[in-house]
């Protein structure tokens, strides 16, 4: 965890002066449902990557390779946007994983 800074050390008014620093703020713990991809079904169309509001879909060389679970909030948009004929993403209750992990 980052050290919490004092009131004279931070920008005034709650301004955020660097672009892209949402990455430093982990939002994965807010999730109720976790997206789980069936690698057999996925056709790597990357619709999920386009629509994910948290940039939490990971890609490599144009392929969908999973999810950044430190930032995925579990909204399910990726599962809904995955083409109907493919349906590669299933939203699974997070508590299922907690029991196992």
């Amino acid at each position: 965890m980052r050290k919490e800074r004092g009131w004279q050390e931070i920008p005034i008014g709650g301004l955020i002066l660097e672009a892209g620093n949402a990455e430093e703020y982990e939002t994965g713990s807010w999730r109720t449902y976790r997206p789980v991809k069936d690698g057999e079904k996925c056709i790597h169309c990357l619709r999920c990557w386009i629509y994910c509001p948290d940039s939490a879909v990971l890609t490599e060389d144009g392929n969908q390779v999973g999810f950044d679970l430190e930032h995925c909030k579990g909204c399910g948009i990726c599962a809904a946007e995955c083409p109907p004929k493919v349906r590669a993403i299933e939203m699974v209750l997070e508590s299922n994983f907690e029991e196992k992990e």
Partner: protein, 393 residues
Amino acid sequence: MRKIVALTGNDAVGTAMKQINPDVVAAFPITPQTELMHKFAEFHANGEVDTELVLVESEHSAMSACVGAAAAGARTMTATSAQGLALMWEILYVQASCRLPMVMPVVNRALNAPLNIHCDHSDTMGARDCGWIQIYSENTQEAYDNVIQGVPIGEKNDVRLPVMITLDGFILSHTMERVELLDDDEIQRFIGEYQHPHSLLDTENPVTYGPVDLPDYYFEHKRQQVLAMERAKDSILEVGRAFADLTGRDYGLFEEYRLGDAEIAILAMGSTAGTAKEAVDQLRDRGKKVGLLKLRVFRPFPYEELGQSLEHLKVLAIFDRAISFGSYGGALFSEVRSALFGAGRIPLVTNYIYGLGGRNISVEEIGSVFDELEHVAQTQQIENTITYLGVRE
């Protein structure tokens, strides 16, 4: 060239806005808006300003548009009154908390209900905790001068807070007075060019305004606002000195009127200070040691300076033109009395709530208050700490 003209408070402040020539003015164009904005819209329609005038559907939207404009780096203004200020409430906090300077003249009028459009200070006194600097004006010249000074006061880099300049509804807003108008160029030189350090339009240096601020940082940002308010005091004094160099009209945090050797005094804000000066003069002619403290700056509240100026008095009466329901006396009374508690000596302090809903206050009434205060000084007894001046039994 400077001009001496006869103008209503609305016309004078509308003219100050024209001479400031702000980048953006967002305003609700219908009542409770006053003729002040009508006047400015006329200047705009005649092409006398370069301002982008955004007319919106409510005061809530007006202040919201001002937040956007100020965050974009525009020198921003609006104006309102009474219910209009009440409808802005939520966004007043946003503007101050995002540390976005702007100047807003407010024509002080009563809050409904029952429906009333006349002068009292309920509107701005109610907004006293929202983080805006508040400067009250005794007369139209002051309202004009204060609006001009408000621009550099709030824009100063270590302050960066919005500023409300008040003028009493009807008593100043609709009454014609003699006003010295400064030259456009000297006003532009005085306020300078606005350099916004974090403009939303600066794509080289991206910035986010108003993000979520959880228990780990929100409190720190509020602490910063406290410091900005403290620094605003220096900014007000500094700008006041520069304005005095320019115009010969001297403005501080408050004005002491025949107060130095006074034993009995009243403290008031707004146009009533002018009425009180007349009452003081009349009593001084009869050899009474009376005086007045006219508070100009209510936020930041100059508690230390007030304590020093008032501690020598035997009796002090605080005039509140607003009620703080359920509290002990008016807000001005509470704060001045609290300031005196830290001073060396504490005078006997009483509170007069007066003039609500435009109820007139006369020189004679203030004279009779001084008579009551003289009685308190003689007996060392306060019979009524809080008096509702002029209310019929």
